[in-house]
Symmetry: D2
Subunit: 361 residues, 4 copies
């Protein structure tokens, strides 16, 4: 038995004792030390559901995790007790066509930790002990802290997104949405060669953060109209023109949509050069009215991304070498015991919040 933060439904989070599972031969038992909170965690906590997935069985959240290995299964060879690790939270079947061709993020049998998408759910890291497949555990170098290790997962989203963009050195990038993922996309785009990065958001504090940390070269505060519907595509086209004239920039070689908002995707289309790619990272309303006509005459590719594959080792390298500074994005820390406080704080959306991490000794 060990303590876990179990979510039974909207706002019904209980710290209680749960059964410690028997360790399978290819599993390790982990003591989670750091867990980041992301938007989907907040959806589950606030509403008892995230998109189409509703909590029907008790759910332990936590998929941005780093920890310490306390025990290894009989067949484990890549990890040893005492290892400090980052944890990839997506266990796929490894034998279907998607897994076999390297797109295991698309596996129909995916068990994603801390999510109600599977039944019974694959439980997450917000507990004292956590059994996980050994091959999804990646040792952390000494110079990477547990808190930084918990950032490997969101960094993976950005890395996967930038890989999809086929960015090359000297290209220009436009990013809409300056939350944690947008900021990480900016950083990964920079170290992947972007010589010009423009970020847009409705929030001045976020844009200031981006500029102060050298993540964006130029920023633009978006007007609010587009989010509320109204003129829609025309609004977005006008906004993209204003961005170009206000910032004296040309259209971008690659655009990243990191908000999930319809008008923001249309702004990306307006900001995207002929023959460019728009990587859609943000997830919002399923149905969006898109300026497809403009995308066609510009021969733009609209590339959807879903989570990530094969990113953890590379992401750890990027943190360890200092190429990506994730530490500055961790603006809030709480002890794991105070998880409810952390979630409520995050729900209140303070201006200075980028990433909140829960720590445990």
């Amino acid at each position: 038995m060990h303590t876990a933060a179990v979510l039974y439904g909207a706002k019904d989070l209980r710290l209680e004792e749960v059964e410690t599972p028997d360790l399978q031969p290819h599993e390790v038992l982990i003591a989670p030390r750091a867990t980041g909170i992301c938007g989907t965690d907040l959806h589950y906590y606030q509403n008892g559901k995230n998109g189409v997935f509703t909590i029907h069985e008790p759910l332990i959240l936590g998929h941005e995790a780093a920890g310490e290995v306390v025990k290894i299964g009989s067949a484990v060879t890549n990890i040893k007790t005492g290892d400090r690790i980052a944890v990839e939270p997506q266990l796929s079947c490894s034998s279907c066509a998607h897994c076999r061709r390297g797109k295991y993020n698309l596996c129909a049998k995916m068990r994603f930790n801390g999510s109600a998408s599977a039944s019974p759910p694959a439980q997450g890291s917000l507990q004292k002990l956590w059994a996980h497949a050994a091959h999804l555990c990646y040792p952390l170098p000494d110079n990477v802290t547990f808190a930084e290790g918990s950032m490997v997962e969101p960094l993976s989203v950005a890395l996967h997104s930038v890989r999809k963009a086929n960015l090359t050195a000297g290209q220009s990038v436009f990013i809409i949405g300056a939350g944690a993922i947008g900021l990480l996309c900016a950083r990964v785009a920079r170290i992947s060669g972007a010589s010009s990065i423009v970020m847009a958001d409705i929030d001045d504090a976020r844009l200031n953060f981006a500029k102060q940390h050298g993540l964006a070269d130029k920023t633009y505060r978006l007007p609010l109209g587009g989010q509320e519907g109204g003129a829609r595509a025309e609004f977005a086209t006008r906004v993209s023109s204003e961005i170009q004239s206000a910032l004296s920039v040309n259209r971008a070689d690659v655009a990243f949509e990191c908000t999930g908002v319809e008008s923001c995707l249309n702004t990306c289309i307006g900001m995207a050069n002929h023959g460019s790619k728009i990587v859609v990272v943000g997830m919002g309303q399923p149905l969006q009215e898109i300026n497809l006509g403009l995308a066609l005459v510009r021969e733009i590719e609209i590339v959807a991304v879903w989570r990530y594959t094969n990113t953890f080792q590379a992401a750890i390298e990027l943190i360890s070498t200092g190429m990506v500074d994730v530490r500055s994005l961790i603006t809030h820390k709480f002890d794991m015991e105070n998880i409810r406080d952390a979630l409520e704080m995050a729900l209140s959306r303070p201006a200075d919040l980028v990433k909140c991490v829960l720590l445990s000794e």
Copy 2:
């Protein structure tokens, strides 16, 4: 002076004498022998405009053309008088960044023949004599007729579209829209390795044509609701489920949208496998309400195509070797003098019309 079919506005087509231009050093003078009629020609003829482009100056239509070279400019070396040629109707600047990287279809200075997009317009092939850049003229082998040569242009659209799909042998394909472009996409997909091709359309005659000519393995007649709006995305999702169950097929590795209709693009999303590509060939309403949520969880790439690049030589090979039979798609032929009859016939949309070609001796 020579005779041309000059369009002055909606339905105002006049066969009249026009000035024969002086031949520039890198140009050839062509006697057009065959010109195909496509949807954009019909838009200009019926409405005096095509999308955002309105006829302000007299316009000579014709961009699907083959002919005979009657004179060559002083600097021409790749073509000689008497050559039978297919004509690529897009003259780009050849020195801008798009042209230099091989995406000359995106050139801002593009002069597309038979279109009101430039001013003065780049005139088309519906005239007795036609001056054109020599490097855009491709000799036809003896076994390719002028009528077949006029099909090189629409075949180019299909070839460009299939190239964008990165199709490999043994993959499955879904095509919505069984007009000339959809049928050509089907054929190019087949010879590019597609082992299963499903076509859908609202028109039984077109689907029968596709099956009789071995272009589709299975066909599905679409219900009409989606075109009229209504349930929209839900409609498309239901249709795609019905296609799968009615035809006993799985979702496709690649989908081609060849209608320009919103519900058809959503049907493509419903019919597209995880990790697949949807190539958007059809152009319709600029704003379309897309099921982006489904595209995201399936990590689908939505690839817009705009005309074509570097297709003519390859397309001629495909016709000459018999790999693509374009002859059977030419369902209607008219003498060039009877162009008005041809356009009116095409506007009446007879059930058996795939492609109408105007011939001239």
Copy 3:
């Protein structure tokens, strides 16, 4: 206990009783019905070794196999008893970085059946009962025979090779080596869009076979000098010039090297267009003196291929739909009991041999 053809060393092949292994939960027990013989089998039989791999433990050959499932393990869901299947003979670890990114053919823990590369060896299909991982078994449609099913493996090599070539419709192909793999590459290249296929070989019978079966458009019988060294690269350059002039062909957009012979790779470089790819399928002497200078000024990519990945399902589709006719390549059949006769026949290299398949009821 069941009967197996066990190879103890050079020419020391014994039909004897071996232990039938206990079936693991994810395994199936197969009664092999057809097994093709390939060059590596002959190397093991004749020399007791294949390249760097020597037989140290008794080895059961057979990696081109189809059979019938006679029993399934407790966890198997994708296959049922009685299924007719083709068998992918490469069991990888499925959790290393190579496996995870879809390049499982490069897995360091690969257990390839019928090969002495692992210890103990992963035994092959030349036995009455054969246990194998269920996820590597692919059901055969009713219209695909066991003999054809045994061709899925060599067809996989060709399919993998052509995928690496990024061939598009209307391109030209040069293939050197008209053995089973070269012929299959020709066929897969054709159905992937190649509009011109030139094949070269030192053997007239093979070239005739290629022409008679429509696999090559033009053929060229190679002179023998290059194989013996001598002028080497100069020889190859001269040969490639002679091919172009004798056959009136241009250099190719893609070349396939299917012999493993140094002068043939250099002939490919001579026959390859600027900006083209040469796919190296054949394996011969490790050290080869390559005309790198010519490859550089033509900016050619030399793409090595190693076995295949994710090919079996697609290859079965290609056979089932008739797009690839493998039946005509099976020029010799033997009963499994007469395996020694089959191997000796194959070693004698009769002019009409393309593929020999061993059958078992």
Copy 4:
């Protein structure tokens, strides 16, 4: 008439008056301000030839150039008098199949400046006035000096090479050869995401330069044997093992061969991970004995590069933003009048020479 440094043959360099050509409509007249010297210049100067190209007509060297526009042709719109520019020295035909698909570096009619490859040669920048195609002139931002501008050309080689590598963030890189091109490849690889860069060379001074300027993370001084032949491939395999053990590094995801030496290419094969790419930048002996066997089992792609395409604008961005510091690579400067001294100095190969630039006011 204006002064030019005209090379008549080996060591026969004359500063003399030459005819100033009439300016064509699409040309500009340039006053070259900075010209870098590279290895091919030295070959022409020392031997009167470079590879297969011999000086038959007087040749003006200089293809790494920046200058000031003093006059523009009647049709020029992208450049104006007084502009400070970097000059792309490759004028292609712009209408052949290679040019049209964006691979204009492969144009058969290429006129490369300062090279004896065309007849009459396309003269280079080592003269007081130089006429050149306007579309190959790229304005320099104010913060880029002429000397830095002359580095855009060698940086282009590196940028083209790294683009070919499809590098993504967090990958490891091995570079053999720490001359100007190798060092630039290192820098472009770093800003394209390489998290680990190992450089090897026979020269300690070069390796120290690489480390001191942060271009390499680890360096290895190569033993001399391989350059002299001898054990050849075995030597290279042993060296690559020693590099891995001495530096505690794994094999690399991408390798760059920047020497043109056979044993160095084989060392790259030894140092390259399974499924990786080796980009061959260096040009040396045409025939090289390659460890193809090792490349095959590792499924390595050997990617030749020839000059560059579409790099100048991006390279200028990289210099202007400070992402690539080219200033520190310019270790030697001479006045253009002292060109002979500069060439003799460069021929003496001083230990501290990376790049020598000739300046002119």
